[in-house]
């Protein structure tokens, strides 16, 4: 069973009106469990829309989205995925622990079980001593780690991330990428990751999906195999730079030399 299966999905906003926008046209994408897939492309290419269709925060205009083999709506109701956004989106009237407990509260977990799971995920993101802090007392990177912990609280098999490190500085960003890889390795979570950054997409992913705007569509996918145990050396390796170049050329619409880029037939 695939983690995500998007078949012939289109999404229009304001359909039938003068300001109608085809955000996505005829998208096909299948993601297998354990994959880390990045969606990359310029603004307006529909990458965030695609993520929201998987999350069932939006309904497709046409086509079908399956998550864990279920319709996306059912998967959302079952909390089959966790989600993190560019804004950490922590509730500033709740402590760090209470923020992480919120999805568990809504699932009806009792207090002891919530507390225990919260401590587990705080350990996972290496912030156990901050359980009782308020969000604004944490740095941007720490807040984002809390947001990831919150997304992972319900043990979701799938993690959906919408430019989660977009607001962080470069140093923090690279650190967070390593943390994300470590966390996903430990929890064997499937990840769909929306980003603007080519190196970030290449470093994190097993597959980079390149998208282009007007109308939003997938123009290529690039398989990346940098292996497990990626670190600073990976970022300086030739294979890394080759993949970065490949993605960059795919984004420019230039057919990349070498394998891995398939133009999607439209």
């Amino acid at each position: 069973m695939s983690a995500v299966e998007i078949s012939r999905v289109s999404k229009s906003f304001n359909a039938g009106r003068a300001d109608a926008v085809d955000a996505l046209v005829d998208i096909d994408l299948t993601i297998e469990p354990g994959e880390v897939v990045s969606l990359i492309g310029p603004s307006g290419c529909g990458k965030s829309t695609a993520l929201r269709l998987i999350a069932n925060l939006l309904e497709p205009t046409r086509g079908e989205v399956l998550v864990n083999g279920k319709p996306a709506r059912q998967a959302r109701l079952d909390q089959d995925y966790g989600m993190a956004f560019q804004q950490a989106g922590l509730f500033d009237w709740r402590s760090v622990a209470q923020n992480i407990e919120l999805p568990l509260e809504l699932k009806g977990w009792d207090k002891a079980r919530r507390r225990q799971r919260t401590l587990e995920v705080l350990e996972l993101v290496k912030l156990p001593e901050f359980a009782d802090h308020l969000p604004w007392q944490l740095s941007g990177g720490m807040q984002q780690r809390v947001a990831i912990a919150r997304a992972l609280a319900v043990h979701p098999p799938l993690l959906l991330m919408d430019e989660p490190f977009g607001a962080l500085d470069e140093m923090t960003r690279e650190h967070m990428q390593d943390e994300l890889l470590r966390i996903c390795g430990e929890t064997s979570t499937t990840v769909v990751f929306v980003t603007h950054s080519i190196p970030e997409a290449v470093y994190l992913s097993t597959r980079v999906v390149v998208m282009s705007p007007r109308p939003g569509r997938i123009t290529g996918t690039i398989d990346v195999d940098l292996g497990t145990g990626r670190d600073v050396e990976t970022r300086e390796a030739t294979t890394f730079f080759e993949k970065v170049t490949e993605v960059r050329e795919a984004l420019r619409g230039i057919p990349a030399t070498g394998s891995g880029v398939e133009a999607v037939d439209r």
């Binding site: 959302r76 909390q79 995925y81 809504l106």
Partner: protein, 261 residues
Amino acid sequence: MSRPPSSVFRVLWPPVVFGIAFLLLWETAVKAFDLKPYFLPAPSQVWQQFRDNLDLIWEAASVSGANALIGLLVGTALGVAMSFALARYRLLNDLMSPLAVALNAVPIFVLVAVFNNMFSITSEVPRRLMVTLVVYFIVLVNVARGLREVSPTHLELMRSYAASEAAVLRKVRVPNAVPYLFTALKIAAPASVITAFVSEYFGGSQNGLGSRIVGNISISDNAAAWAYVLGACLLGLTFYLAAVALEGALTPGGKRAEDRA
């Protein structure tokens, strides 16, 4: 959040020095130009009157203060209740919001003259009704905004948690609106006192601070009138500080609406 004493001093000395200098200038001007008491009494005369009439001022302040407090409590309760209704029913919101904003721009004080006709001449009800009305709209506009203007990320998160509308209200909208309520109270508390005073200008019992100010001016006892003005200032300040203290006590971490990104 507590500050070290030195920083409290740094914040306080400019207004204190300015206030003392202003009073000295006033006192000196009255003496130097030999201004008559019916034109402008000296601060020392006002203070003398304030001390001599302390019992009467206190009595009048109790009447105005009670009107303000009752109106403030009832208006806040109604405003909060209505803002929940607005958050729940969109049609009601579309009906009420423009009205609330429009009424805020109208000097609705004058309605008290109409209310006075509806009740007996010695009744305090028209004044309390007036305060209620003013407070109601301030609270309604602000709390409704707090319930409505929730971060889109928070709403998407709640949807991803498959949260019900009731859960969104309880876990997101209400806590989000709390700082807005305190912002409203900091505006409404002094406004309730002002409304209570002004309401007294439109007839009825001559027992509050507002009517005493008018009464003393009409017999040219300006120093006494100013003494009542001083009482009025103190009452307004008390209400405001009570609202600030309530906010400090009930808002965790001292995060207020205006601090939010």
